[in-house]
Amino acid sequence: MSSVPAQGYLILALILFCIGLFGALTKRNTIIVLISIELMLNAVNLNLVAFSKYGINPNMTGQVFSLFSITIAAAEAAVGIAILLSLYRNRRTVHIDEMDTLKH
């Protein structure tokens, strides 16, 4: 009985989520912010898959749910990049602290 404890997976997912959150809140480049959000979604997927194996009632549903979540994350990345390109065309910047038209 020396397999990896299930807490290990959850803690790995927690670490990745925290790094992604830190990157999303402090980075200035919008593309890096978007990819940090993808990292956070990935950590959540890891939680789903871990619970599908080690949860109270382990079954396939967690993996199916993570597949749906990956699909939505890909759609979100596509729309995010499109918004970024259109914003770049209008404002000539990718830095997130220069995108402040709503403040003025």
Binding site: S2, S3, V4, A6, Q7, Y9, I11, L12, L14, I15, L16, C18, I19, G20, L21, F22, G23, L25, T26, N29, I31, I32, L34, I35, E38, L39, N42, N45, L46, A50, S52, K53, Y54, G55, I56, N57, P58, N59, M60, Q63, V64, L67, F68, I70, T71, I72, A73, A74, A75, A77, A78, V79, I81, A82, L85, S86, Y88, R89, R92, V94
Partner: protein, 168 residues
């Protein structure tokens, strides 16, 4: 020490290393490539969790499609390529403190999570089980996801199109 623990240690170290490199590398493309390392090692961890199909989807979608799309985003926008301005130290400190509090709270919760017995049959014909589950219990969400993808496709094309094309 059996193989599973060694594999888990290597893969999780690689994924955390990739994510940390994302925070400390200065060039944008290098940040993206280090996150590709994270995505690949997460695919390996899915294999450890007996989710082979999800691992393959992870490699295809994240390491393939999403990162290529982000590289196109970097290519199509002009960068000074380095972050010249020094990072905002005060803001980083406040954010880091908040995230450490969050980490401690969730870590305390994780230690109390009850876990059940693991099923032995999750890895047998993994893809077949997922297919049966999707097409017998989750048919309507599956179809709704296709509508969402269509909407995202049309929206992305509309947003990224050059302005002035619609005056034809």
């Amino acid at each position: 020490m059996n193989g599973e623990i060694i594999a888990f240690a290597l893969l999780s170290a690689a994924s955390v290393l990739g994510a940390l490199a994302m925070l400390y590398v200065s060039k944008v493309v290098h940040m993206l490539l280090s996150l590709v390392l994270t995505f690949f090692s997460l695919a390996g961890i899915y294999v450890l969790l007996s989710a082979e199909f999800v691992a393959v989807v992870q490699v295809l979608i994240y390491s393939g499609a999403v990162s290529i799309m982000m590289i196109f985003g970097i290519m199509l926008t002009k960068h000074k390529d380095q972050e010249n301005r020094p990072p905002n130290i005060k803001r980083s400190l406040i954010t880091g403190a908040g995230i450490i509090v969050f980490f401690a709270a969730v870590y305390g919760a994780i230690r109390k999570v009850p876990f059940g017995e693991q099923t032995p049959n999750l890895h047998e014909a993994n893809t077949e089980q997922i297919g049966i589950k999707i097409f017998s219990y989750y048919v309507i969400p599956f179809e709704v996801v296709s509508v969402v993808l269509l909407a995202a496709l049309v929206g992305a094309i509309l947003l990224a199109r050059k302005e002035g094309d619609d005056q034809s």
